[in-house]
Symmetry: C2
Subunit: 218 residues, 2 copies
DNA sequence: TATAAAAGTTAGATTAATCTAACAATTGAA
DNA sequence: TTCAATTGTTAGATTAATCTAACTTTTATA
């Protein structure tokens, strides 16, 4: 059995591994907002428990077991988000914080029940895939909106930032999953983009925002 | 904000105070399965935080604030039990263990939502009253079945032991909340009782069991 | 009422998870 | 290629929550 602290390290390791290729003590430290020496000694413990491969001054790599456990925590998180959203009437901006706590609950039956009641969903309310019960996760290949140009039309598939503030911002802009976005123009200086949603007004989105909107061309 | 450990002390203090009148370090220690010196120093900390009145060699008494906070944790526990039972299809024997973990979640909205979805229930699946949002709890005056005699008829109102094993035992005996029980005879030696449920067969219940079945005469 | 048993307390150790300060290794830029 | 910045590590302190051992106070009984 792993503590909530350990589970948070596992989750952060998995998400960093999915973003980049090498995961360093420094990056993990920043992501968790935990100082490097603490992270360093935790990684030594993880190596002894067989959760990571870790040698001094080398990057950290999750073992297969570490990956599986991390994905099972993510599974609990995302099933919870979906349950709160679909079955309890929470907004997509409210569910992350609650799921952050619920993911540490040790009660397999609770999450199996959510899964069943939800009809075995494949994605959470932010479009992120839900790992299966074996800890297997298939990553859809969406592209950030920032990679597209004037004239392109795309569909919003997922949001790579589940923070309440960001999602409230998207609510304001009427951006939801499935929304069709047409790119009117792109500013080469700062990468900001002017978009149209359906026949609505033109909206400006900063690079910070477009990097977090995962889309597919239509 | 209080830790899960502190919340468990609060809950135990409240439930002991409702059972007896004076709460001692020793009893709290037994209830929590935590050694006396640990409990002793925690009670000193609680006294400083204004959760209890505590002087050396004297009984422990929850302050009004301590009582309120304890009741709010019980409220989360019981709302969760009811939600799991009514809305997710769990059996009454399965919900206590899960609620024991969920009661520590810091997300007022989650429990407000459960309350609303459930239609503001007054009792949990074991017949225990749910404290209101201010931490006020009205205790119904049920009597243990063990206090009745041959010839009496009573209705099962609550179970004062939510452990999975005890509730499984009651399932086997077809005892549920609302069940009408007629007492055929009572053994003076060990207090065991022979009962009839409706026109079913006669069943024997030991004193251990009848002490945990809270009833009202009919 | 004397004293043994029970309950309560104090002192000090342990473990997990964190920190800061100081030092070492690696990396990258001049 | 050198050396300064960045990254990583070690050592040692801290806090919360627990423990055991030893001692004290209260309680209950012979």
């Amino acid at each position: 059995m792993y503590s909530a602290a350990e589970e948070n390290y596992l989750k952060a390791l998995l998400s960093l591994a999915n973003e980049q290729h090498e995961v360093s003590v420094n990056e993990l430290s920043k992501r968790l907002e935990i100082k490097m020496p603490t992270v360093n000694s935790m990684m030594k413990k993880f190596a002894e428990k067989g959760l990571v491969h870790f040698e001094s001054y080398k990057p950290i790599r999750l073992t297969a077991e570490g990956k599986r456990l991390a994905a099972l925590i993510v599974r609990k998180h995302r099933l919870t988000e979906m349950f709160l959203y679909e079955k309890m009437g929470f907004g997509w901006e409210e569910v992350h914080e609650i799921a952050e706590q619920m993911e540490h609950i040790q009660a397999p039956k609770l999450f199996e029940k959510m899964d069943e009641i939800l009809g075995f969903p494949k994605f959470d309310p932010h479009g992120s895939p839900i790992p299966d019960a074996h800890g297997l996760l298939e990553t859809p290949d969406y592209t950030p909106l920032s990679g597209f140009n004037a004239g392109d039309s795309v569909k919003l598939m997922a949001i790579s930032d589940s923070s309440e503030s960001f999602l409230r911002f998207l609510n304001q802009k009427h951006l939801q999953l499935g929304t069709l976005i047409h790119i009117k123009s792109k500013e080469t200086y700062d990468g900001s983009i002017r978009i149209c949603i359906g026949d609505g007004p033109v909206e400006m989105l900063s690079r910070h925002v477009t990097e977090r909107l995962m889309v597919l061309p239509v």
